[in-house]
């Protein structure tokens, strides 16, 4: 396999994003604004911002990339460019890898900006290394992107695609442990939470935030996140059809 096609695809996706400066601005500005809001909402509860802020830096890219990729792929379907690409010597993997590279880069910038604001301006204090929070954020972005690419196959319109966000992302946010500790949830919810990839993503982030030397367990959690991302990329590939009715 030659890297030419995936790299060209990544470059094309990034050029498209550059033509949409408002989207880029929102991707970069919204997380720091929300983090600032969080800090001052919980200003009376010391420790809360430190507990939630760190993981949030790593979870924003998951949410945003899920939305952006599901709509971007839906557009490829509805404008006929996907059908054209499927008639060209481009493998499905080339296309999905191209998307992966482009959005991972965007996620890295997003997480770096959010971290700079959180750690630099807002005084967020975490025990582990900041680079780990950014690296986990990029991993979570890849997870969000793969789930978004897969989900987009089930949306006919952009209205439907947008609804997949609350349908697939919100339950994971509620159960992952960010808002309430999982061990205090009803048993059935606690067990369900282990089947959700965001739970593992959150655990890795929580370890990076609270443990000075997070080590092996973070690696395990991150491996689970990337494993789920790969599986859903595989599922997304099966939804790209060369022949249609």
């Amino acid at each position: 396999m030659s890297p030419r096609a995936p790299l060209a695809t990544a470059e094309r996706v990034l050029r498209q994003l550059r033509r949409d400066p408002r989207t880029l601005a929102l991707v970069l500005v919204v997380p720091p604004v929300l983090l600032t809001l969080f800090k001052y909402v919980f200003v009376d509860q010391p420790g809360t911002f430190d507990r939630i802020g760190g993981p949030l830096v790593g979870i924003f890219p998951f949410i945003v990339m899920f939305l952006i990729t599901s709509i971007a792929m839906l557009r490829e379907r509805t404008t006929g460019t996907l059908e054209r690409l499927m008639t060209l010597p481009l493998s499905k993997l080339d296309l999905l890898l191209g998307y992966g590279i482009a959005f991972a880069l965007l996620a890295a910038v997003q997480a770096a900006v959010a971290s700079a604001v959180a750690f630099g301006l807002l005084g967020l204090d975490v025990a582990g290394p900041t680079w780990l929070v950014i690296a986990l954020a990029v991993g979570n972005a890849i997870l969000g992107m793969s789930l978004g690419l897969f989900a987009s196959a089930f949306a006919r319109t952009e209205f439907q695609a947008v609804q997949f966000m609350p349908a697939l992302v919100f339950p994971q946010l509620l159960l992952c442990g960010l808002l309430a500790p999982r061990e205090r949830m009803a048993r059935v919810l606690e067990i369900t939470s282990y089947a959700m990839p965001l739970t593992w993503a959150y655990d890795a982030l929580a370890r990076a935030v609270t443990e000075r030397d997070p080590g092996v367990k973070v690696a395990r959690d991150a491996a689970i996140v990337l494993g789920v991302a790969l599986v859903s990329l595989g599922l997304a590939a099966t939804t790209l059809r060369r022949r249609t009715p």
Binding site: A8, T9, Q16, T81, T87
Partner: protein, 237 residues
């Protein structure tokens, strides 16, 4: 010419979509290095037939062979160019950026970009964002991307819709120049006066082939002087 190995062979093709028969057991042969016009009213099955030849259509029966290979074979992807009726290019990229991307996917040399832009007459618009171009200009961008790979077979779905007469004439000249170099072209249209510019025409109606022969032969057979009348004569026969 009839002794040459056909570039496209359609044999007993049937396509059923949503429970209704779109193409009803049609057969056809396209000679290499020719321009074949696919004509018929909208809804007659032109696009479906083209999709079957490109290999993106799920078939209910029959077989389609392109350059000796089953339609849709991976090896055909670099040898066949397809331009859909709605321009399938990226509206948020410039003309040049679109061609740049498709050239990279096709593995075509960059030198062909300018030639393709010239062929469709978009030199002054190369750095314009496609979204801001007119409908006819957008469909020419789509056509240019298909020319990049210098395919042996070009399938063009209504490439001249929305174009002014001068540009339409120029494009037809281009089609014949390509055919002169050995490219096989299949061009659909619902404008009958484009039919006379084809080496061979296939008239399609309600998923069946009414006639398939050279324009002159069709006029002689129906005893008409223009193709529009010949088509009507065939329909009412």
């Amino acid at each position: 010419m009839t002794t040459a190995v056909p570039a496209v062979v359609v044999d007993g093709l049937r396509v059923v979509r949503g429970g209704s028969v779109v193409l009803d057991t049609i057969s056809l042969r396209v000679q290499p290095g020719s321009v074949t016009g696919l004509l018929g009213p909208s809804g007659s099955g032109k696009t479906t037939l083209m999709r079957a030849i490109v290999g993106v259509q799920i078939l209910a029966g029959g077989a389609v062979t392109v350059l000796g290979l089953p339609a849709g074979s991976p090896r055909l992807r670099s040898r066949l160019g397809y331009v859909t009726q709605a321009p399938s290019v990226y509206g948020d990229l410039t003309v040049h950026e679109n061609l740049d991307y498709f050239a990279a996917v096709l593995g075509a040399p960059r030198a062909r970009l300018d030639a393709a832009i010239d062929t469709v007459g978009l030199e002054q618009f190369a750095d314009r964002v496609v979204r801001n171009l007119s409908g006819g200009q957008r469909s020419r961008v789509s056509l240019a991307t298909a020319l990049l790979g210098e395919p042996e077979v070009l399938v063009l779905d209504e490439p001249t819709v929305g174009l002014d007469p001068v540009l339409r004439r120029d494009l037809w000249d281009t089609f014949h120049a390509l055919a002169g170099r050995g490219t096989t072209l299949l061009v659909s249209s619902h404008v009958m006066d484009e039919a006379r510019r084809c080496d061979e025409i296939v008239l399609l109606r309600d998923g069946r082939i009414l006639a398939g022969k050279a324009p002159a032969g069709l006029l002689a057979e129906t005893g008409q002087t223009d193709l529009e009348a010949a088509f009507l004569a065939l329909v009412e026969r």
